[in-house]
């Protein structure tokens, strides 16, 4: 008869009501993220606490929105000192292209999703400030477990063709 | 599958002088701009039966704007690309009475390439505010790195 569909619909909503709510009570219970979840970019460190970053600028070229920036002073013995490694959290779309481009696994996408801040100028974060960059030779063997022939000097060849960007 | 070129050439021979070629895209027909609608009407009515205008897009080739009409025949499952060339501030004649699906894409293409739209029921701008310059022209620059950096 005419109302059969409506009554069936009522039965379904009652059955769903008896199934009980499925909401996660957020501030008290937190969902644990899957292993590949991509949130804000965070630098990684060696065992001795020094950052793995060798200031090779690969990530800065890889970012589609140009939001990473590195100020580096090169001392005479070719080792580098990172003044600021600024990262605009507000503009980052967390696509993970910089992490894929980094040859030394020096940055990774963190799992911390509570990124709300109170004032807009806090949105530009210094990932690394005033710290010595890891030297390429020491980082290279550690970073490349595969027996690949290590590059003898600074990764210069990538430099010229990028300038046309 | 590609429509065969000879049939395309014969259908268009009466209407306009068209040169048919095949490229990575498929069969491409280049025709002069002002008899675009008559050519499309001929193609639609012909045995090739191009029943649907799938897409309409403009390209800035450096010195002029090239309009591409992407036609498709569902019965034979073949695609055809009709291209015509307009000067920079040229007039894009609307083909909406042949293919009604050109209504909104024409407004968008004319507005983003700085063409004036003729013969269209509602030639107002579709996407941008009234005084924005034609964005998809190669001459209109995107914000440089510095402007992005200190925005």
């Amino acid at each position: 008869m005419w109302g059969k569909g409506i009554l069936n619909g009522m039965r379904i909503t009652m059955r769903n009501m008896l199934r009980g709510p499925i909401t996660v009570k957020y501030p008290y219970e937190k969902i644990e993220l899957p292993e590949r979840a991509r949130w804000a970019v965070t630098p990684t460190y060696n065992e001795d606490g020094m950052p793995k970053c060798t200031a090779c600028m690969a990530c800065i070229r890889a970012c589609p929105d140009h939001i990473l920036d590195l100020e580096v002073t090169t001392r005479e013995d070719k080792s580098k000192h990172i003044e600021h490694y600024s990262y605009e959290l507000g503009a980052c779309m967390m696509c993970g292209l910089c992490v894929e481009a980094c040859p030394f696994d020096a940055i990774e996408m963190g799992h911390d999703y509570e990124l709300a801040l109170t004032s807009p100028d806090e949105l530009t974060i210094d990932l690394l400030a005033d710290v010595d960059a890891a030297s390429v030779k020491r980082a290279r063997p550690a970073a490349e477990p595969k027996p690949e022939e290590p590059k003898p000097e600074e990764p210069k060849p990538e430099e010229p063709e990028e300038a046309a960007e | 599958m590609l429509p065969d070129e000879t049939v395309v050439r014969t259908t268009l021979s009466g209407v306009t002088q068209a040169e048919v070629s095949t490229s990575t895209l498929g069969v491409v027909v280049r025709i002069p701009a002002d008899d675009a609608s008559s050519a499309l009407a001929a193609l639609k009515a012909s045995s090739l039966d191009f029943i649907m205008l799938v897409d309409l897009l403009g390209t800035d080739t450096g010195e002029e704007v090239e309009i591409t009409y992407h036609l498709r025949s569902l019965t034979r499952d073949e695609d055809l690309y009709v291209k015509c060339v307009l000067p920079y501030e040229g007039v894009l004649h609307s083909v909406w009475n042949v293919y009604a699906s050109a209504l909104l894409p024409e407004r968008e293409t004319a507005e983003l390439f700085g063409l004036t739209l003729a013969g269209h029921p509602n030639p107002a701008r579709l996407l941008t505010v009234d005084d924005t310059e034609p964005l998809l022209r190669r001459s209109v620059a995107i914000r440089t790195l510095e402007e992005v950096r200190d925005r």
Binding site: G9, T13, M17, G20 | -
Partner: protein, 336 residues
């Protein structure tokens, strides 16, 4: 002194009942709709969110009272009052138990329906006065809908009055006490099921509830006639909507489900807890309204009119004729 007191006391009781009712119903609606939709409803304010409604009322009180310009000033301010007062007056005739009643009216039923039919007047005033296209459309829809469904609402109640022979709600309930053939309770729902169905459909229309919530259809008219109202004026409209649903549900329980009586409970246990049973039954009725609200989509306005004029009214007229014939045959001298 006592004369003044006995005059004011019932009014205060009605107002208190309405406020408490509003608070409880708003909380119940959010909880029921929440659980119907696999959500929890309010949880943060107080244990299990019980204090949530009082927080809402305080918020409504503290909000800034905006009067948009281009508004028809007097009608705009008067409209919420015209919506609120009738639903307050409708509490007068509801029989909570044999003795516990705000006023003893022998035309209680007629009075309640007369008062309830004033509410659409306020809705139309609100819609027209707030000079906003959405509320204009919402108000005109509400006018058409509630006028169209007053008629079947009253017609569906006439069979009950024909059998009982009086408009006094107390007597209707008294008629339904006791049991037929030892097992079937004498409630009217069993013999008069069609008229209960018509009553339910037109009651939903009266209350502007889904599937007939045409006047504040969220997805089309934003908030319908109440779009331009803020703070306490919106509070009045909101509260009156809930108290209407309590009144209509109370009527349904009184007319069809035997008011405050329960069939197999002996007399002496019944009388002390009679108001409790009545309120419990009414809340079950309100729960069914909310259950319907959480499930069904909205009917289009012209289908609604079509259903009302072409189906409900002829059906209820035919049903009245049938019941009239049966009453005449079974009790030739019966109608005293």
């Amino acid at each position: 002194m006592s004369a003044v007191l006995s005059a004011i006391l019932p009014v205060l009781a009605a107002v208190a009942l309405m406020l408490v009712n509003g608070v409880v119903l708003i909380y119940m609606l959010r909880k029921v709709l929440g659980h119907l939709h696999l959500r929890l409803g309010p949880m943060h304010v107080g244990p299990k969110g019980i204090v949530q409604t009082t927080a809402d009322v305080l918020k409504l009180l503290s909000k800034e009272d905006i009067t948009p310009n281009g508004v028809d000033r007097w009608m705009y301010v008067l409209a919420p009052v015209v919506v609120f007062v009738p639903s307050l007056m409708a509490y007068a005739a509801i029989p909570f138990s044999e003795t516990l009643r705000i006023t003893r009216l022998d035309t209680g039923l007629l009075y309640t329906f007369a008062v309830l039919s004033l509410v659409p007047l306020g809705v139309i005033m609100a819609g027209w006065a707030s000079a906003n296209k959405y509320s204009l459309i919402g108000a005109l829809r509400a006018a058409a809908q509630q006028v169209a469904y007053e008629v079947p609402l009253l017609l569906s109640v006439i069979p009950v009055v024909m059998i009982v022979g009086s408009l006094d709600l107390g007597e209707i309930v008294a008629f339904q006490t006791g049991v037929w053939m030892g097992v079937v309770p004498r409630w009217f729902i069993i013999p008069l099921l069609p008229s209960f169905a018509i009553f339910l459909i037109s009651a939903l229309c009266e209350l502007n509830q889904t599937p007939f919530d045409m006047s504040e259809a969220e997805s089309e008219l934003v908030a319908g006639f109440a779009t331009e109202y803020s703070s306490m004026k919106f509070g009045l409209i909101f509260l009156s909507e809930f108290s209407n649903s309590f009144v209509i549900s109370a009527l349904a329980v009184t007319l069809f489900f035997g008011g405050w009586t329960l069939p197999f409970v002996p007399e002496e246990i019944l009388t002390p807890i009679a108001p409790l049973i009545f309120v419990l039954k009414t809340y079950i009725g309100i729960f069914v309204f909310m259950w319907i609200r959480g499930t069904l989509p909205r009917v289009r306005i012209d289908q609604l009119m079509n259903l009302g004029w072409k189906w409900l009214i002829p059906a209820s007229l035919a049903w009245i004729m049938l019941v009239g014939v049966v009453v005449k045959l079974t009790a030739p001298g019966g109608v005293s």
